[in-house]
Amino acid sequence: MVRILAALVGIFFSGMMLLSFLWGAVAYVGSPPEATVEHEFHEHPKKVAWTFDGPFGYYDKQQLQRGFQVYTEVCSACHSLHQVAFRSLEALGYNEAEIKAIAKARQVPSVDAATGEPSTREGAPADHFPLVYPNDVAAAAANNNAIPPDLSLMAKARHDGANYIHSLLTGFQNQPAELLKKFPDSKTPEGLHYNPYFANLNLAMAPPLTAEGQVTYGEGQPKPTVDQMAQDVAAFLMWTAEPNMEARKATGRAVVIFLIVATVLAFLSYRNIWAGKAH
């Protein structure tokens, strides 16, 4: 009885699937799905050799400081970093006085001690980076209806995050003529900017890094080309997204070595106990 019912259920589901497949295949052959402009022109991020790649990866503090400088002078006009506390900038090699100065330069929300009215005060190391706009409505109103996302986790919130950020920042270009010929309706709308690394090819952000030397790097640092600045800020955002990466990998190396030794010992004791016992 069970087998008869099972067979009926099986015939029903498998039959439905085969019918759907035939139906779909006929439709597919009859009118193949049209290629979309995203399918044809979207590009995967370019690979950069990062210091933080691989099991021995580390953050280059000089690079993170340069990236922080790019963030401060360029990105922070629109993008917040609200998961990050000023105190954690210690990991970039800043000392206490420098961190205090960085925090002090920013106003954080507060309450007026005398009146109880909302107000602001100078930041302290324990504060997080303040929001750029008080809320999403204000952010959208100031940016042609697009909300600049918080960047704290950006390097983990996109596939291949650090490479993606670098490619996106250096990927702004004019729409290829070939694209317009093939997809005449896909002209980049007014107020948007073509970028093949962005999921739907047109993004609201105008190219933020436009000219060499836009940010002035200190003595002994590499030349601030657009590519260099993009790499530096991508590395910095990798750090904001994954500040404990160095501790994680160092712990991981020790744990794996320990486990390999323990497993070899466990294997030997297994062999020892089973010695002479065919199995």
Partner: protein, 439 residues
Amino acid sequence: MSFPWAEHYTPKNPLMKWVDEKLPLPRLVYNAVGAGYPVPRNLNFFWNFGVLAGLALTIQLVTGIILAMHYAANAGIAFDSVEHIMRDVNAGWLLRYAHANGASIFFIVVYIHIFRGLYFGSYKAPREMVWLLGVVIFLLMMATAFMGYVLPWGQMSFWGAQVITGLFAAIPVVGEPIQTWLLGGFAPGNAALNRFFSLHYLLPFVIAGVIVLHIWALHIPGSSNPTGVEVKGPQDTVPFHPYYTAKDGFGAGVFLIVFALLVFFGPNMLGHPDNYIQANPMSTPAHIVPEWYFWPFYAILRAFTMDLTIPFTGIVLIPAKLLGVMAMFSSILLLFFLPWIDTSPVRSGKYRPLFRKFFILLIIDVVILGYCGGAPAEEPYVMISQLAAAYYFAHFLIILPIIASIERPDPLPGSITEAVLAKAHSTGDEAEPVAAAAE
């Protein structure tokens, strides 16, 4: 509940003697995982995965309980509280990555455990109850994992909750009220997050309880083995301790190495980047996908694109969405009936040449389903999943009983010991020929 030759617990230490008289817990442990449990001597490494699943559950319980001390189940701050754990809690990043990847490795282990059972016929009499309880554990795991994925309150958390509870909305008439009741609102929100957190904390302990029943039921007939031939005498078994504790110790080491590589060197490899974006009811992700371990079932769900209609009338009997939901639940629930669907008296796939071919096909089929479930819902993936889903149902519900009736199994060994010695002989490893012959 054991073989007559099982060793008996005799406490040597006066304290243990005293405890054993008042509460025979040491005796229970001794008979469950100590020298008091005789186990077939020929288990291969696939038999490690039961213990490994227990280890994975333990890791999840320990990391999860500590995470709950720092996590805030409130839609307004849940996302930030997870970042607080990642940044400010001592070793919080380790706890969270271990817990998130622990779920993945738990499913990897359990899938190997299930396919071990499928290949070696562990579901057959007299172990049907072990199998049934195992399927219950699997269902509880799926519910727990789904609710756990909602807790970080990222984009995939929110939209996953929307899609999965939306499955119930496919039920005619009462569907939408059921979805609203499950969520505590019309869309996932604070009410849903809180109840999911509560249940996510509860269900692992229910799983632990069912595991006790699973092991209890296993210990009545004793463990199965790769030949599928039942234990015939003391020469066929070895005491669980030290033989299998040692073997499981080695297995646990390998398991932990794989787990550590994942946690420390690729903690986000199996996750979806969109879950690092805070939940936003106003913005739907381009592709909503569940965690990888649900992909085969998700592929079956989405494969149903055609309503069931009465031909030439256009009257819809069952809409495609409901069919998909029915098929997805059936794909798991059919496992409950497996002991009575596969009637072959031979347990082990080792001696079933025809079954073995179809079994390999099933593994390939499930991998294809998994791949399609993770891919966007567009052609050719939908058509491929339709073919794969057709085979999935046909395999369990149609092909297995047919194989059972037409297959001519290979000759079975007379006993476990005979099989072991034949293998030792053929590999030139004759460690105990005389002793075994004497037995």
